[in-house]
Symmetry: C2
Subunit: 150 residues, 2 copies
């Protein structure tokens, strides 16, 4: 994995790695700030985002986020305490609990989505429309790949 593979130049691109890392940290920082404005952690905000168009069991939601079920229990406890999500026992499997957004949670999620668009606008605005299209294509291609082995 760390051999200098001669036919595989992708790791020899420090500028790209830097740009990706920087971009990631900046954007996650922005997302974290926006969440904080609504008194949410980034993780809580992600929960709302994921549940925006879905109702999920605790286990599946934990898998989505890459967290332990026990971690999710606390997360959902706090979100439910604020009236953002609701738990309900599954009809099919008596062991499962399904989580869904409340109306308040939906409104929260919508507002956050607008705020995110606004916060990212200064960044994307610096690119021309065709550059934005290129960037979208490149990022989507990169993600589609990586997902298959990460």
């Amino acid at each position: 994995m760390s051999e200098p593979n001669p036919g595989e130049p992708s790791a020899e691109d420090p500028r790209l790695l830097d740009a990706l890392g920087q971009t990631a940290l900046v954007i996650v920082g922005l997302l974290t700030s926006i969440a904080a404005e609504h008194d949410l952690s980034l993780t809580q905000a992600r929960v709302l985002g994921i549940l925006r168009d879905r109702r999920l069991r605790m286990t599946d939601l934990a898998d989505y986020l890459g967290l332990e079920r026990s971690t999710l229990s606390g997360l959902i406890d706090r979100a439910a305490g604020r009236g953002l999500v609701e738990r309900s026992r599954s009809a099919e499997d008596g062991r499962s609990i399904e989580v869904a957004l409340t109306d308040v949670g939906q409104q929260f999620a919508s507002r956050a989505e607008r705020d995110i668009a606004a916060a990212l606008a200064p960044f994307t605005a610096r690119l021309s429309p065709s550059e934005r299209t290129s960037l979208t294509t490149l990022l989507e291609r990169m993600l589609a790949t990586g997902a298959s082995d990460a």
Copy 2:
């Protein structure tokens, strides 16, 4: 801020926003995993990364990371306890403490850098060399901008 500004199409690009957000979360997730393999949090890893080619005062390091000084005290306590960084009183200003990597910390940082390159390789490898160049350019342009108003 939420008016539908007709001459400003940058916020009307949900696919780009999605791609940026997804990319950011995936990459930060990878960085977090790599740090965890070395028993470091992402924040601790960032400290090592920042100190890789610098010696900084506590306050400046806190500013770099966007954290309170009190938060940094704990962070540096733990890193120093593991022998990764060293504190030393500033010669110029008796109030200031300078932080620098130890040899062990340097080795850690080098190893982490290689691991990051290896972890990102599957993603970047899916793009052709010229696409990688384009992506680098686009990301750098976007970052250069946003930094001026975020």
